[in-house]
Symmetry: C2
Subunit: 319 residues, 2 copies
């Protein structure tokens, strides 16, 4: 085996980029890139570590979709259009099968989301995958965490808690495996809500992607928007049939609040935009509203509930 450095990926990455914004792609000391006029660049870097974010032996194609989806989700949360990807791969060995599987899936996803792989580094060591995503936002128009106002509706896309359900099944087995594949898919192949983010660009007052659980990520919005609060209606939380059927309503609701890595968007919207929600391609649910005092109140069928736990954090727990 004599593959060296980033040739490892370059070799398996199908097709050269025809992206006009890429003046110089993989193969020199740097990539050289052009930003379209009137646009700003949005960037985010994310890492997946074996043993922390995935189990040993996880298939390389699943790692590719997990890395890609979670990284692009940060662009979605800013309302950015994806453009470029760089990779830093630390691998125990130059395993051609692994690389082929990884690169092939990554290549498919790049094509689907119009992303060009423009550079990277491969090094030897414990399996660790970092991706930096780059996207464009019109000058001054990004979504941020900091613009929520009292009275705004709190909305979430898709269904929540499924990724945690997939992880539970993975770690402890599925008692009922009717929906196992669907839940595992939500864990391994998060869908970045790119189109939704772009649609919200001049409409939502704040936005974040749900990577640490709704309560934890909503708290970032509340803090960044000036120590605001929220009232959440727990019966409104969008729970999938797959999750409720497999783990019961109580678990499903708990994981919707605190389960990490759903990579759905949580955003706030002035009430006059309510009609917009029916015109979206993505299913969006109103789950509560912004309140003036810095606390989160939970209501279930009219009764006030206690918060059980909060979103996780890599240095707080073993998730």
């Amino acid at each position: 085996m004599s593959l060296g450095e980033f040739e490892l990926i370059q070799r398996y990455f199908s097709g050269a980029s025809s992206d006009a914004s890429v003046a110089l792609g993989i193969g020199d000391d740097c990539a050289v890139l052009s930003i379209p006029e009137g646009m700003q660049l949005a960037v985010s870097i994310d890492t997946l570590v074996q043993g922390t974010h995935f189990l040993e032996g996880t298939s390389a194609d699943l790692l590719a979709s997990r890395l890609f989806g979670s990284a692009l989700s940060d662009l979605a949360a800013m309302g950015a259009s994806p453009a470029w990807l760089t990779l830093a791969l630390t691998l125990p060995e130059a395993d051609e099968d692994w690389l082929q599987l990884f690169s092939h899936r990554l290549s498919e996803l790049c094509a689907e989301y119009s992303v060009s792989l423009v550079g990277g580094d491969t090094t030897k060591g414990p399996l660790t995958l970092s991706a930096q995503v780059h996207g464009f936002v019109p000058n001054g128009q990004r979504l941020t965490r900091s613009g929520a106002h009292v009275g705004d509706l709190i909305c979430v896309s898709g269904s929540l808690g499924d990724s945690r359900g997939g992880l539970e099944g993975l770690l402890k087995g599925f008692e009922n495996d009717t929906y196992a594949e669907e839940l595992l898919q939500r864990f391994y192949a998060p869908i970045p809500r790119i189109e939704l983010g772009k649609t919200l660009l001049d409409k939502a007052s704040s936005c974040i992607d749900i990577s640490d659980g709704l309560l934890s990520d909503l708290a970032h919005i509340l803090k960044a928007s000036g120590q605001l609060g929220a009232r959440l209606q727990l019966e409104a939380l969008p729970l999938s049939k797959a999750l409720v059927s497999t783990f019961g309503e109580e678990n499903a609701r708990q994981w919707a609040l605190t389960g990490g890595e759903d990579f759905e968007l949580c955003f706030t919207l002035a009430p006059e935009y309510l009609p917009l929600l029916n015109q979206l391609q993505t299913i969006v649910t109103v789950v509560g509203s912004i309140t003036p005092t810095a606390k989160v109140e939970l209501y279930l069928r009219g009764e006030k509930c206690e918060i059980q736990g909060s979103g996780y954090n890599h240095f707080h727990s073993n998730n």
Copy 2:
């Protein structure tokens, strides 16, 4: 200990950015950045892994300088002006002392090179440090590996082999430690040749930074420039007094050719630019010239020599 995610770094990173190109820095889902008019973006990502690139127990400030210097060196090789940095840090634990030491040194280097830290990710796992650097090049003016012509002079900055000398001493001990500190410094704190790169922007026909050894990196230029060759004068190789005194001339010359991670620039220059070399701030040495046939010939005091080994590669050896 309850530090979470990238707050780990943000907390220790002194001072907010006053960089006008940073519309939105650390703390949201993405950083939002502006590229000056008439400029393109140059990006490169690099990883250092414990056990592969440095020994367990290496001080965090040395890791910061090694990561920063080696990453910025890629910008130097393109003639780019450094602008922004993102970090992906995988750490076994949230060690406040480590983070303080790392961030403080990194902060000093960012200030010295006018770089803004704009984002990052911290995760739990085996110590692995990735950095993506971003710089600006005037539209269409970057240095690349591919422009060398027959008859061009082959030039290198600084002295070569010192980093390998530092590593040898680190692994096997220094028999004579007069220059130990100097050589270790070359290993731990590579100097990115930013000003030299910028000066060469419209003059050098090709450029690369020496990360895998002169022979190996020069080979990239020769290949990218259309299967050209080179003739090197070994007595011309710039060897430091520190390296020769400590390890002897033979080792010094071998490591100048094949020792990795000097992060000096190797570039080619049409002979008419020869007078330029005397006007540079950085010491530059002419070590050979470009030839038409795809082979590298080594001469020592007029006699032809054999190549002993070549630059290393992370998947080829244990460096």
